[in-house]
Assembly symmetry: C2
Homo-oligomer: 220 residues x 2
DNA sequence: CGTGCGGAAATTGGATCCCGTCTCTGGGAG
DNA sequence: CTCCCAGAGACGGGATCCAATTTCCGCACG
């Protein structure tokens, strides 16, 4: 009998459930920037007390997804244009290096699973699903680098810009263009051309940043 | 009457006081890896209840400084050699780029204040003070880049390796060598040579990593 | 003598309650 | 009519209490 070892010890604490739910709602854009997080409202929603909610909120604050003021409560954090730009620059820096290191380590399973994400990206029309698949595609490739701290840092940066990315791509049909870039990145990986994959990734990030900024400035 | 505007709203919550104290104790190496963090004990130390302590601990976990298991409590997190190496690679990547971007923006105040940190580094013999000054020196230079997210990311990475760095440098007298590297970096900044400053910073980080790993493997 | 089991103590997770602060509103003064 | 202020309700921070789980220790049994 084979067992998949899962750390059962940290499952299902109320605080972590609330944390994950709020994080998901924020990065998916369901809770928009500035929305106040009322502790007892959230507690009622999850049939729990305010204690786990407070823990969840302080963890979200540590992640930079909410900002809170003493005695005033927490609100969903937002990013101005400069901050957005900077995080994309950061992503371009780190992700470029990570994919460069990942390419030499890529096996067939990595390429196959990434390809599956890519196919999902081409067939789905749901913006939420598209966002998850987009993230899964890149993360699957990065994993081959075997650099967990880098991956964690990338994930944290993605968490901050994810909702803007999803919102910007669904309209202003850059989806097809973005998917074409994904294919080019995948092919570079499959051919083992690390430098090309890195250049394409940098360009992919820069382009999505430009599209995002354009989209945001057009609408004030 | 001139007032220094400080955001009084988020000062002195019990949770943040406990958080900062624990963070300081961990990155200074006072609480060594594996030490369990007993909520009751900490609460007694700070004359408070366990509630703020729990918030502080979950924030520390989000920062990666402690790991906790449900119903078993939290312990100070540690790093193995691979993780240490990776975080230094990460630092080399990000800090190199940040200092490159910082050099063109450096004004006299930046150079003067960094110089003051440098002088402190040369005169102090206290390992704790040395660690703070070292960090202050680099952070002061980085600040000129105007890249707050990058700085935050660097700080998070530093938090994880700080205690190892301090412990390794105090004996095995690489302090003088490290300070010589600091001087070289400072001079490159003063001359406005961004690429040189970047190269020296990368080398500085690589060297401290090598010294650290040597020090750790020698002692098991 | 080692092993396993059972219960008590220790410790964490969560609920409820209280207190300090903020905010909003309504009424009175200018 | 506007502005200001007092007071009440809303809300967050923290304390205390209860429940659930783990850990430790002693004792019986093989």
């Amino acid at each position: 009998m084979k067992l998949q070892p899962i750390d059962i010890s940290k499952t299902a604490s109320a605080a972590s459930i609330v944390f994950e739910a709020l994080r998901k709602a924020i990065i998916e854009g369901e809770l928009i920037e500035g929305t106040p997080l009322r502790q007892d409202e959230i507690a009622r929603l999850f049939n729990t007390s305010r204690i786990p909610v407070r823990e969840a909120i302080s963890r979200l604050e540590e992640k930079g997804l909410v900002t809170s003021q003493r005695f005033k409560g927490a609100v969903v954090a937002g990013l101005n244009l400069d901050e957005l730009r900077e995080i994309f620059e950061y992503r371009a820096l780190v992700e470029t290096e990570v994919i460069r290191r990942a390419v030499p380590n890529m096996d067939q399973a990595t390429l196959d699973e990434a390809k599956a994400y890519f196919h999902g990206l081409n067939t789905t029309s749901d913006p939420l699903a598209w966002g998850d698949l987009n993230r899964g595609f890149h993360e699957r490739l990065y994993r081959a680098a075997g650099l967990p701290y880098h991956e964690e840092a990338i994930g944290k940066a993605m968490d901050r810009v994810d909702r803007y990315l999803r919102a910007a791509l669904v309209r202003s049909g850059n989806v097809a263009k973005s998917n074409a870039e994904h294919l080019a990145i995948w092919e570079a990986c499959a051919q083992g051309d690390a430098d090309l994959a890195a250049d394409l990734t940098r360009e992919h990030i820069n382009l999505s940043c430009e599209g995002l900024l354009l989209n945001m400035t057009r609408r004030g």
